[in-house]
């Protein structure tokens, strides 16, 4: 009886575990089934590298949106990564433990704020400020990057804190015993030892920034054009899907699924890099 109960529990839990994998698989299969025939029909070159997006006229070039997604993600990293990593180093190595107890939960709270709220702040405060000081329409690469940079901060910070905290104290003690100052021991030993964890935090944050939709639609301006300056408005891949989904039929709808494939591939690659970075860290230990 006991043996049976255990088996039942085992298989029940296994089913639950596989259901998560199965849903990922189903999503992947569905996106590819809807989008791949379209990519074949239009041709990769006319889809990925053409700049004309006009679904009603049969033009499906998503090149400006790929560029836009990369610009915005890169910009967000430029803002979020240094802040997050510097914050993690400070909180782990220099700040009194009390401060960590207050600041860490506060920043993690930031992760719980809905993205539409960030977008709203961007539209009401950031965009008018950019328009007044830097010119352009305000809704721009810069606005999206700043908003996303703040949004990914909790990801970078909390994973980096864990990575730095997992560096054994003997490393620091060894560095200090050799006559290094505290700062030297931090940047020559601790950061190097925590490097793979910090890289993983950045890559996970990139995935988050690339996939964010609502806040970006609100602050990026959604113009389909390759940007030439940070004050230019852009449309990212995610924004394109969300904006046109409601009205798309036929080829236009398939084009959105194909856009989803591109996004899916980019995120898979990023996650793959993150996983191997984390594995690298485990091996070193």
């Amino acid at each position: 009886m006991k043996f049976n109960g255990e088996n039942i529990a085992k298989y029940a839990l296994m089913t639950v575990a596989f259901s998560a994998v199965a849903s990922l698989l189903l999503i992947a299969v569905f996106i590819f089934k809807e989008g791949l025939p379209f990519m074949m029909k239009v041709g990769l070159k006319d889809f990925l590298f053409a700049s004309d997006w006009d679904p009603l006229a049969g033009k499906f070039g998503i090149y400006p949106m790929i560029v836009a997604s990369l610009w915005v993600t890169f910009g967000a990293m430029l803002i979020g990564a240094p802040l997050g990593i510097a914050g993690a180093i400070f909180l782990n190595e220099f700040a009194p433990p009390m401060m960590m107890k207050i600041i860490k939960p506060t920043i993690e709270l930031l992760a719980g704020i809905p993205s539409v709220v960030f977008g709203f702040l961007g539209v009401m405060v950031l965009a008018p400020w950019i328009r007044a000081t830097l010119g352009g329409p305000g809704l721009s690469v810069l606005a999206a990057s700043i908003i996303l940079g703040i949004m990914v901060l909790p990801t970078v910070l909390s994973i980096s804190i864990d990575a730095i905290a997992s560096v054994p104290n003997s490393y620091r003690e060894g560095a200090l015993a050799l006559g290094a100052t505290r700062w030297q021991s931090v940047y020559m030993v601790t950061i190097k030892a925590a490097r793979s964890g910090i890289i993983a935090s950045i890559i996970l944050a990139m995935g988050r920034a690339l996939g964010e939709t609502m806040a970006v639609i609100m602050v990026a301006g959604n113009t389909v054009k390759v940007p030439h300056a940070v004050t230019d408005p852009v449309r990212t891949l995610t924004a394109n899907i969300a904006l046109e989904m409601a009205n798309a039929t036929g080829m236009a709808r398939e084009a959105l699924f194909a856009t989803g494939i591109v996004l899916f591939m980019v995120i898979m690659v990023l996650n793959g890099i993150a996983l191997s970075a984390i594995k690298g860290k485990a091996r070193k230990k």
């Binding site: 997006w53 006009d54 679904p55 009603l56 539209v123 009401m124 965009a127 008018p128 328009r131 329409p137 305000g138 809704l139 639609i217 609100m218 301006g221 959604n222 113009t223 389909v224 054009k225 408005p233 449309r235 969300a242 904006l243 046109e244 409601a246 009205n247 798309a248 039929t249 236009a252």
Partner: protein
């Protein structure tokens, strides 16, 4: 305990029977399509159901093209579309103009410009005119704001302006409401919204000297007007026919009028 379980069971069963019984005795009509007309259709449905308890009307969005598709496929009995003219695939449907909606060209209230010609509107939105000083304003770049591709408001607007291709550096917003917010926030912006959505935060410019208001739309003087179509298959159910008749009735037209649309007749 057992009695409780049995009682709960009986109550649940009765509830289910009640529900299914109710579903059978009520006739269902589903309406789908234009998101711009959706809130008005909901009002009409509410009013109709309050006087016709035997009919259940469900209103869904999805967009004008979805409305035509659903009416054709039978996913919905009635499709809604707010387009200047219906696409050829809708020819097999029985269509009815139930209201008219003016499209207002709007700017920020701080903008000096309060009147444009039809040609100027066309050139601004197609990107030929890029500075406010060319249309009598101050020396600032014009920020054109449009709806997304596939929007009924956008395709009607572009068609009325002679099939323009939108300026490629135009900003895109995904609803009438966000266009209004963006124009209210940016002194150099120009956009277009449904006539019913004009408020004190934005300013509607007159086109060819004619203001966008109900009287001018009714008289046919204001040019940027689109019809709202309801479409149903030939031989639709009696409940569906009755609802369409109701929409054209004086009472329903008055409700649409009070909600900010222009009566069909």
């Amino acid at each position: 305990m057992k009695i409780m379980v049995a009682l709960t069971g009986v109550v649940l069963c009765a509830g289910f029977m009640g529900l299914t019984g109710c579903g059978k005795s009520r006739e269902n009509v589903t309406i789908a399509g234009s998101t711009a007309f959706q809130p008005f259709a909901e009002k009409l449905a509410d009013q109709y159901m309050s006087t016709h308890p035997g009919v259940m009307i469900t209103v869904q969005g999805g967009g004008s093209s979805m409305g035509i598709q659903s009416a054709l496929s039978g996913a919905a009995e009635i499709g809604m579309a707010d387009l200047v003219e219906l696409p050829p695939e809708a020819a097999s449907l029985k269509s009815l103009i139930v209201a008219r909606d003016g499209i207002a060209v709007v700017v920020n209230p701080a903008n000096k410009v309060s009147s444009l010609t039809y040609d100027q509107v066309r050139d601004v939105f197609s990107g030929k005119i890029k500075n406010w000083k060319d249309v009598g304003g101050s020396d600032y770049a014009i920020a054109v704001i449009s709806r997304e591709a596939g929007s009924g408001t956008r395709s009607s607007f572009e068609k009325i302006l002679g099939g323009i291709k939108l300026a490629e550096d135009a900003l895109v917003q995904d609803s009438n409401g966000t266009i209004r917010e963006t124009v209210a926030n940016d002194q150099n912006a120009i956009g277009y919204v449904s006539h019913g959505l004009i408020n004190e935060k934005i300013k509607a410019v007159s086109v060819d000297g004619i203001e966008c208001m109900e009287a001018t739309i009714m008289k046919g003087e204001y040019r940027l007007v689109r019809p709202v179509f309801l479409m149903a298959k030939e031989g639709a159910s009696p409940a569906c026919q009755a609802f369409l008749e109701y929409v054209m009735s004086n009472e329903a037209q008055e409700l649409l009028h009070q909600s900010g649309l222009i009566r069909a007749k």
